[in-house]
Subunit: 114 residues, 2 copies
């Protein structure tokens, strides 16, 4: 049986980048707002935040670099919208890891019940 090992792939660094982008509370909040479907401008996303517009902008760029959000210019404001694809990517990875773990437990159980 061929094991699909979760360490495979040249996109390990890509996966790590996505996780890293999600590894910040501010950016998690931004994702939470944007996954509601509506695009927001930077100013709107900064409203009610304790940090400056520039800080929010930088976080948005981090999310954009890994593809979690897309941006488009609309007049004087730049709108950001959520993009789910990278999230599906890491979800598959997490499922793979869980599967590995479950298989390991099954083998252990089978061995002990021999």
């Amino acid at each position: 049986m061929l094991q699909t090992h979760p360490s495979g792939g040249a996109d390990q660094s890509q996966r790590a980048a996505i996780f890293a982008a999600l590894g910040d509370e501010t950016r998690l909040s931004l994702v939470a707002k944007l996954c509601g479907g509506q695009p927001y401008s930077i100013s709107r996303l900064t409203e009610g935040s304790h940090i400056t517009r520039q800080a929010v902008t930088k976080h948005l760029r981090v999310l954009e670099e890994v593809g979690l959000v897309r941006s488009m210019r609309a007049g004087r404001e730049s709108l950001f919208e959520f993009n789910p694809e990278p999230m599906e990517e890491v979800k598959e990875y997490l499922d793979l890891v869980s599967k590995q773990w479950d298989n390991a437990l099954s083998r252990l159980k089978a061995f002990l019940e021999d």
Copy 2:
């Protein structure tokens, strides 16, 4: 209809910490090895790595702090094993975000098809 919004919870920072722990290629490799079910010592985990034992140790501590691995001393070596619980936690979160997004698309579709 009550929306379960993914920004809720005082454990946003905990979630962010788990994502951050996974946001490093070296640590992803460690998780990949350990999710196979077998515990490994630090030396074994360092074998075939381009970084030093101390660097690996630090990464293991990061993983341990968010609960992704557990460690126990066995004689002169310290064994690390995978723990899946934090991973389930973030998987649920990702599912929630995806669900929000899908709901948003559905509402948009319904609106357009009016």
